[in-house]
Amino acid sequence: MKIEGTKEFDASREVVWSVINDPAKMAKTMPGVESFEIADDKHWSAKVKVPLGLGGLKMSMNFTKLEERPLEFASLNAKGQGVGALMNMTTSFTLSGEGEQTSMAWEADVKIAGPVGSMGQRVLQPIINQQVGNVLSALDNEVQAAKSGA
Amino acid sequence: MRVAATPTSSQIVTVTVNGTAYEREVPARRLLVHFLRDDLDLTGTHIGCDTGSCGACTVHLDGVAVKSCAVLAVQADGAQVTTVEGLGDDELTPLQQSFSDHHALQCGYCTPGMLMSASALLAENASPTEEEVKVGLQGNICRCTGYWNIVEAVVAAGKGSA
């Protein structure tokens, strides 16, 4: 499933970049992160419990940074394996804009298999859209924090 | 405020099934249908899906038709359960006889659930119309008959008992 969108930030590209380029900060944007480990600047992993209301879906996620062009472009792959569930997401961010305005065009190709899928069509896509929405608003908070911190 | 009970992963369940009282320790996660089939060996109650859709597992819980695959055995603690084995004694009930008379079953796998839904309906409504029967059996899937003969059988059983 491919989803994409654009997100506007009241912050400079440097600030936004400093967030999406920092695994620790990015981790804070992910729903239900329970623990987090950085292997090296290209690889990190996390244990998450994706909140699904009726009880969470536990997954261990491995992240790999695929490509980066500072202040412009970053792409990474997230692979999750839970009990019987699988998630594989390749996502990329392209930054543009001047001064204190940054626009982030993002794309994500999400593959989900396992029990969430078998819960049915009617929930799968809404759940993904919802989780993406949460990530973006959390990202905004991180950016604002970094901005005021800077 | 009184202290809350401690949740446990298994509990002693006391339940009366077809008039016989049972006391068993049951894991909290065990479904009523598996408790009936695997623990009490009442294999007349069947399983045809894993989403609470097919009704093959329908039993009466305190006189009400429920899908025993969507009820935990621990939830039946203290309850009266009736399964297809408890419908009649050696003699067929008029409803069971009507199913046979109208060729309302082929493979027979959905039949126990159909009978439990139909008997619950007849208990509330002694002679239902065809439409009422269809509504009453909406929660039971049959793949052999196309339902026509089942609906006829229940309508006829109702007329007989009216």
Partner: protein, 817 residues
């Protein structure tokens, strides 16, 4: 309301055959006393859970079961690596390239569809087995996925089975008559660029499973299961397991529906056999609904591309040519037999003499297909009915007249088709008139106007279809000349027991087809006794020695092969009974008759032996006889009269009988939403002599319900990653009571001249409902853009699209000349 009208039978029966004798099976089933495989327990039995692939196509890089084995209560596991050592790949029906498919009980090295069993885990409880399976760590290296059969055949497509050098399992050209000449002489040529028969199956309510015991002393497995074709299962299992077929004792009693979907469970059965031996304890596996939908027995999905139909000015259809692409899914469990089975009905119910069909089968990253009620003929018959209705639609012919003109006529029966099949009997035009009467065809235009006044689009459709039964397995040689299968057979044993009970043992594995009842009817008539004196054993057990290579219940044949065997065995028993009586009364056998439960002298009713005496003499009181008394025990193997078909011309009789059904329905479509309702429905059936009319009608009703589900609701749809989007009853909606239309049925009896009782197999029904619902939708949409129906499955959203964008289907159709 539900009305059921049945026309009086045309051949009057005397005795029990032809009567609605109450079903013997019912009593135990309505009391919940049926015995299905999952009702059987053994001491110390372990429960099996299969860990399944979440990927549609991936290399298995590692499997670690250690954590699972450490869990208390876990008995053991089985992986593909063990299976690859302990067994050989399953025998393949296909010639090359399909012959190179390597299919094992568990995934070996690669997974090829979502839901494929990868590891089996056995534990003390069902729940624990699933818990343990979650502790098994499997690493996958994902591969590109192909889910579209057309793309799977293109160069550069991801390849499922590298040894096959591509995804094609079978291809062949099937041509009869002079197709080019027929097109040269045609007044019109109608071309249809694409038709698609969707993927679904009949979803029996009981799922697959088995209890498997292994005896180390005898080296024998006892397999209590619901496989509906044990003869085929052991032929697949024994060589793979490197044992003789008699080491596999197949046992069933009651089966909760099969519809063909329970023929190909042999891979799981082998995994269970290996586990029972490895762990030295009984193992039990029950499949769940989501497992079944993802991994078992989908019906064949088929494309018909570049179809052309040659039509004369008067509507006579002289030829068609098309390219069929069949989607077998990831493995060839019963395939590529679908590549020949369709040709049993190559010309449908019509007089086509010139036919060319290029059949190519592809393997894709989807669940393997297997026979499904109407196996492979339903897809092709839907295609022939689409041709009729599209030609009528495009050239302005009346659909009823066009059918009557092109139907094979009653005067031509028995009729040899262009490919050498013989339609045994039937009166198709009369059946059509009958169904039109039932549905009130003459009032359709009024009803159309009345519906229009309510804002509804009303449509009427016809679906004529065949149910060919009793396979000549020699047709498999048209796909693979090396195969050593031909003909067909079934077995029955009938004995007179010590107290005079008549005991019948069948080789079949009924799943609701009432064999215990109809067999008793046939026996009682031959022995001149009451039907209640006849005991027909429930179920199948290969220990009974009452089975043969083709034993089972599938492909519309019991009324011919099963009852043929029953008749043969009972006639032999009758001869033995008369012989014994003649020995007792010192008279000629010809002076003895069987009547009213006695063997008696025709001329002297006083000289009568009750069945009890006849049973007692050989069994318990046989001293002093000058010669051996006959044993009162007969085993008969029925063999239909078949030749091996001509492999060069792809010519010969492929099935013995041709039952016929014509369905008609009326739909009302909501033009704003595409939602539609079946407001009227009728079906006429002709299956020759009906042993038990009510049971026959039950089969017609069941086939109708499956067709309604397939046409309106049921589809196995996949996304591009190979995820099944309808993996259980949340999204795979099957019809419930409130979804069913009123139904009227009628029957004609045109006895088959080729079968022992004039009966014909009829369990499958040929999908008539799919054909007539599509036709009715096309008729309803005529006034709203004239969309052409090109799919077998037409849910609301497709109807809405046809209403909004009729051009999308219109551009698939073209009329030349």
């Amino acid at each position: 309301m539900t009305t059921v009208e049945t026309e009086g039978t045309t051949t009057l029966q005397k005795g029990f055959v032809g009567q609605n004798v109450p079903r013997r099976e019912d009593r135990r089933l309505v009391q919940g006393e049926g015995v299905y495989f999952d009702d059987v327990k053994r001491h110390g039995m372990g429960y099996v859970h299969f860990l399944r692939s979440p990927y549609a196509h991936a290399r298995i890089t590692s499997i670690d079961v250690s954590a699972a084995l450490e869990l208390p209560g876990v008995y053991g596991t089985l992986t593909g690596d063990e299976v690859a050592i302990l067994t050989d790949p399953f025998f393949q029906i296909a010639a090359e390239p399909g012959a190179s498919v390597k299919d094992f009980a568990l995934a070996v090295g690669k997974v090829r569809y979502v839901g494929e069993p990868v590891v089996a885990v056995v534990a003390e409880t069902r729940e624990l087995a699933r818990d343990a399976s979650e502790l098994v760590m499997v690493d996958y290296d994902p591969l590109d996925v192909v889910v579209d059969a057309r793309k799977a055949l293109e160069d550069g497509a991801p390849v499922l089975h590298e040894d096959c050098g591509g995804n094609m399992s079978y291809t062949g050209v099937w041509e009869w008559g002079d197709v080019d000449a027929a097109f040269a002489e045609a007044d019109h040529v109608v071309s249809i660029s694409e038709l698609h028969f969707d993927r679904f199956n009949s979803t029996p309510l009981e799922l697959d499973g088995a209890l498997v015991e292994y005896n180390r002393g005898t080296g024998q497995w006892t397999i209590t299961t619901n496989n509906q074709f044990p003869g085929f299962a052991v032929i697949m299992m024994a060589p793979a397991m490197r044992v003789g077929t008699d080491k596999l004792r197949m046992v069933t009693q009651d089966i909760g529906g099969g519809f063909g979907n329970k023929i190909t469970s042999h891979p799981q059965l082998v995994a269970l056999c290996l586990l029972a031996r490895k762990l030295n304890r009984p193992v039990q596996w029950t499949e769940w609904r989501t497992d079944f939908h993802q991994s078992m027995s989908h019906g064949n999905e088929r494309w018909f591309l570049d179809t052309e139909v040659a039509v004369k000015a008067d509507g006579t259809m002289t030829a068609f040519r098309t390219k069929a692409i069949d989607d077998a899914g990831a493995y060839l469990r019963y395939e590529p037999l679908g590549g020949v089975i369709w040709s049993q009905v190559a010309a449908g119910m019509y007089g086509w003499r010139n036919i060319r069909l290029e059949f190519t089968q592809a393997m894709t990253n989807k669940a393997p297909v297997s026979p499904n009620r109407g196996y492979s003929r339903m897809q092709h018959l839907w295609f022939t009915e689409r041709i009729i209705d599209i030609v009528a639609h495009e050239l302005g012919f009346d659909r009823v007249e066009l059918r009557k003109k092109n139907y094979v006529q009653p005067g031509q029966m028995p009729y040899e088709t262009p490919n050498g099949c013989v339609y045994d009997s039937g009166d198709y035009p009369r059946a059509l008139d009958l169904v039109l009467d039932l549905i009130g065809y003459d009032t359709i235009e009024q009803r159309r106007e009345e519906a229009a006044s309510r804002g509804k689009l009303l449509g009427f459709g016809i679906g004529s279809t065949l149910d060919s039964g009793t396979n000549n397995f020699g047709q498999s040689q048209l796909l693979n000349p090396e195969l050593q299968f031909s003909g067909n057979n079934e077995v029955a044993t009938v004995k007179l027991d010590i107290f005079g009970e008549v005991v019948v043992t069948l080789g079949t594995t009924p799943q609701g087809q009432s064999h215990e009842t109809t067999a008793a009817q046939v026996v009682a008539d031959i022995l001149g006794c009451d039907v209640d004196l006849v005991h027909v054993r429930a179920g199948h057990d290969s220990y009974w020695n009452s089975h043969a290579g083709f034993s089972g219940t599938y492909a519309s044949q019991f009324a011919v092969t099963g009852l043929g065997a029953v008749k043969g065995a009972t006639e032999e028993l009758a001869r033995q009974m008369k012989t014994l009586a003649s020995m007792v009364f010192q008279c000629s056998v010809d002076d003895i008759e069987l009547a009213d439960g006695f063997a008696r002298m025709k001329e002297n009713a006083e000289a009568a032996l009750p069945f009890m005496a006849l049973g007692a003499i050989p069994n318990a009181n046989n001293a002093g006889f000058p010669v051996d008394p006959p044993p009162m025990n007969a085993r008969f193997v029925y063999r239909p009269p078949f030749e091996v078909p001509d492999k060069e011309r792809k010519f010969g009789n492929l099935t013995l009988t041709y039952s016929m059904q014509i369905h008609a329905c009326v739909v009302e479509v909501d033009p704003e939403t595409g939602v539609y309702e079946l407001v009227d429905y009728a079906a006429v059936d002709d299956c020759g002599v009906r042993v038990n009319p009510k049971i026959v009608e039950g089969q017609v009703m069941g086939a109708t319900a499956h067709a309604i589900g397939a046409a309106m609701f049921e589809v196995f749809a996949y996304d591009d990653e190979g995820n099944l989007l309808t993996p259980n009853f949340y999204d795979y909606h099957v019809p419930h009571t409130l979804d069913m239309p009123p139904l009227k049925t009628a029957a004609i009896e045109s006895p088959s001249p080729f079968t022992p009782l004039g009966t014909k197999g009829m369990g499958e029904g040929g999908g008539g409902g799919i054909h007539c619902i599509g036709a009715a939708l096309q008729d309803a949409l005529r006034s709203s853009g004239g969309a052409v129906v090109t799919s077998s499955h037409n849910p609301y959203h497709r109807v809405w699209e046809m209403l909004r964008h009729p051009e999308r289907s219109r551009e698939k159709v073209e009329v030349k000349g």
